[in-house]
């Protein structure tokens, strides 16, 4: 039982106890308390706000099981996805967490879209740029294994109509509903992207970054800048739920010198792992 579950259970027990005690809280019992004491203060509080306590405790007792029903399957699904990714990491990539990263991207729902839109508006305002950000579909990082950025808030835009507007391998996979391998991208480790001036078109670094963006389906430099460490090889495949609806994208990034996706056995087992994600999506 997690800490949150324990807290909810305790809250439910306390509320149920108060509800059970409330019918016995009346004037005659209050007068039995003599002098100042914690018991008298508590009893007075219960007596004076009897109706409010009844309403609040009733709501808590009624809502907590519903909250459990909503959040418990989500927690379980998250745990399952984490276990699947852990096993993939160990079995397919020999636990090389420094050079391999597995990410589950999920389709953004309406609330998440609004949040993303607000973030984009904020970024526009920060850079003093006019115009509205493009309103479209997004996939965002749901879970991640490997490397040092598990709590990434990265999201990628995808257009349901054309590949040309999609951002990153995740966006392309989500739009095209294909399995994609992008490999042998230029190594950008030695380039400080935060200081790079993209207007110097003849610079070797700029050429390398442009090549990376073109091959890696990164449509604008700002998106590349936000990537903490650009990978050398990518694998992306579409994720479906148990009913067959597309719900997200699995992306494996690799910084290894040799592309791990050239290995046929790895590819076969990756397909097998994809099926395991379906009940959790």
């Amino acid at each position: 039982m997690s800490k949150k579950q324990k807290a909810l259970l305790a809250l439910q027990i306390v509320s149920a106890f108060i509800l059970a005690v409330l019918p016995f809280v009346d004037q005659s019992r209050l007068s039995r308390f003599t002098g100042d004491s914690f018991g008298r203060d508590l009893f007075t509080l219960l007596y004076e706000h009897k109706t409010a306590f009844a309403i609040v405790c009733g709501i808590v007792v009624a809502i907590v099981p519903a909250l459990k029903d909503i959040f418990y399957p989500r927690t379980k699904n998250k745990e399952m996805r984490t276990k699947i990714m852990d096993t993939m990491m160990e079995e397919l990539f020999k636990g090389d967490r420094q050079n391999v990263r597995i990410t589950v991207f999920k389709d953004a729902n309406l609330l998440r879209h609004l949040w993303i839109y607000l973030i984009l508006l904020g970024r526009k305002a920060k850079s003093w740029k006019l115009g509205w950000p493009s309103w479209g579909k997004y996939v965002y990082v749901k879970e991640r294994q490997g490397t040092e950025f598990p709590l990434s808030k990265t999201f990628f835009y995808y257009s349901p109509h054309t590949r040309k507007k999609c951002q990153g391998v995740a966006g392309i996979v989500r739009q095209s509903q294909e399995e994609i391998i992008v490999k042998d991208l230029p190594d950008l480790d030695h380039i400080d992207l935060t200081r790079l001036d993209m207007n110097k078109k003849r610079s070797a670094d700029v050429k390398l970054v442009r090549e990376y963006m073109e091959k890696g389906h990164i449509r604008d430099f700002e998106t590349l800048r936000r990537v903490n460490r650009p990978a050398r090889h990518f694998y992306g495949n579409i994720l479906q739920n148990s009913e067959g609806a597309f719900r997200g994208v699995l992306v494996v990034d690799s910084w290894q010198d040799q592309c791990p996706f050239d290995d046929e056995s790895v590819m076969k087992r990756l397909s097998y792992y994809l099926t395991l994600f379906a009940p959790t999506m």
Partner: protein
């Protein structure tokens, strides 16, 4: 007395290049494994054949079936992948084989209305597979079994 229905199971053995959609120097695109049939289960009756395609991820069927000249194609609700193909024929061996050709044509026709290359390729794989199934039905043992089944069906009909 020969049975009046025959079952057929086949696991298509596709190779990686069969799934290939596009290949460039740094990029390879494949049909996702969820759109590639892993097993086909068929039920051959005297006048009707039902083929069910199984995939690594299941999918609910769409409410409407595609129908082309008596060939019924059941597709998935979300991906449009082919879940089942059924057709009727005269109770003769030649008519059954002709049904496979018609089914493959129908699948290719249905493919034309799809926009995504991945699902188009999935339909191509199914059309290819129908050719393989036709060859399976062409082998001498299968042919003898089927002809016996049709004969028994015709006799049964005559008696009724």
């Amino acid at each position: 007395m020969p049975a009046l229905a025959k079952s057929y199971v086949q696991r298509p053995s596709f190779k990686p290049h069969d799934f290939l959609i596009d290949k460039r120097a740094n990029e390879v695109r494949y049909v996702p494994s969820s759109l590639v049939p892993t097993e086909t289960v068929g039920n051959v009756g005297p006048t009707r054949l039902d083929l069910h395609f199984r995939y690594i991820t299941s999918e609910s069927p769409a409410s409407k079936k595609l129908v082309f000249k008596g060939i019924e194609i059941e597709v998935g609700k979300f991906t449009q992948k082919i879940l089942a193909i059924s057709f009727t024929y005269d109770p003769t061996y030649q008519s059954l084989l002709h049904g496979f050709d018609e089914a493959a044509k129908s699948v290719r026709k249905a493919r034309g209305s799809l926009s995504k290359p991945s699902i188009q390729k999935s339909y191509e794989l199914i059309a290819e597979f129908l050719g393989i199934a036709k060859n399976d039905f062409n082998n001498p043992k299968m042919k003898a079994d089927l002809e016996n089944m049709f004969l028994a069906a015709r006799e049964q009909k005559r008696r009724d």
